[in-house]
Subunit: 141 residues, 4 copies
């Protein structure tokens, strides 16, 4: 399997938003990218600010482009800030290296990434993990 | 009603893709934007090339930014090519002024736009019109 | 006098919009720039599409940057398309070289420019001319 | 109500500038954006430097795109600098995350944002709050 399918992406989005409602989170925006960093499915809940598309997308984009989830990127940034800053510059400033960007894996293979924005980063990540799990796939935060 | 809701956007996407399958079209990408040009819902079918996101998005973006559907933009471009070319430049080159970008209206008010790419422009537009109609909203191609 | 004042710019905007209503034009967007191409006053009427800001602004920007109104730019483009295309490229693609961009002059001196978008280019220009005249200034279309 | 109307935007601008004069502030620039981040009304006072358009606009743009006023953005930046820096990058560097960018709300709904620049950030914000209050709308700094 090369890439997250639309069916899988839809399941991730639906389960992530459902998790957000269960946890009483603020309105969420969910972006699912394929292994090339291109959108497969996106939904922005009513009341979510418009720029949340770029933030959720940036979390997922950085994950798939670096092969490293947002939490791992944040840890790397704490250890070596200039690397993440320079990587982001090289990628056109599109990365948002914080929790809520999660790699989607089929076994060991990266098949895409999910980015969520709207609540605190840890909550965004919890919704992403729930979405990926519900789709029967492996997550790497 | 201010803007297309997520529920409406989902209905548009589902009905447009269903129309595409009924017509035997190539894999489609559907982008639904709100009245400010920001994504509300996106789906890209399996087999659709990644740049279809930017093309479908550009059709919808031009529609909402100019208040003019893609077919109307194409007609304007045939009458006055330099206006559409310059408008596109002023909007950062993000417009794709061909059929398949359709305004979504609630009565007389623009509440968003749909852009579809993947098959011939006329077919893309037919899927967009079907999606908007199924959501109980008015379409302006 | 170096530049259009805020008071003059307000008068231009008010009179241009009033002219638009008298003529029954579609909702207009009016951008008044100073002699450096920077905004002095802007108003976008209810119902005017959001991208009209960039189009009206691009008409005024090209006028002030080239020292040539939009109608003169269009005539130049018809005689020598590559010059206007190249000039627009050199200016970052921000020009919209059609009627509706009008230089504002105090005697022989350019003190700013007005750009209007929303109706046909000739109508946009008529509103701009009315606005500049009402402010007691000279117009160069 | 979907978006700040032109009438409301004009009232905000007029009252904000009036407040600035009452407080003896430096020349101000006021930008009012709709809920999609697009200009509704702008005025730059005589003596205000030209780049104040981009600064005032960036305060308002960040507010509406993140659904968070400039003061809240500044507090978030103090707690988690890299998030605001990365969000700004993802939004094309157009944000100016300091006080003086204020959300405009109709009840709980964001209908736009005001950005002011020219004096100290706290003074800019005071003028924005006065403008929004005078227009009978709710402000979130």
């Amino acid at each position: 399997m090369a890439d997250v399918t639309l069916e899988q992406a839809r399941n991730i989005v639906a389960a992530a938003l459902s998790k957000g409602r269960d946890l009483g989170l603020k309105p969420l925006t969910v972006v699912v990218l394929d292994s090339g960093g291109h959108m497969r499915a996106v939904e922005r809940e009513d009341g979510a600010a418009p720029g949340r598309i770029e933030i959720a997308g940036g979390k997922a984009y950085g994950a798939v482009m670096l092969g490293m989830g947002g939490r791992a990127q944040m840890e790397r940034a704490e250890a070596q800030a200039y690397f993440i800053a320079a990587a982001n510059g090289a990628l056109g400033g599109r990365m948002v290296p914080v929790p809520g960007g999660v790699l989607v894996k089929d076994g060991e293979r990266v098949i895409g990434a999910v980015g969520i924005s709207g609540d605190a980063s840890d909550q965004d990540e919890a919704a992403a993990l729930a979405g990926i799990e519900a789709a029967g796939l492996a997550a790497q935060p």
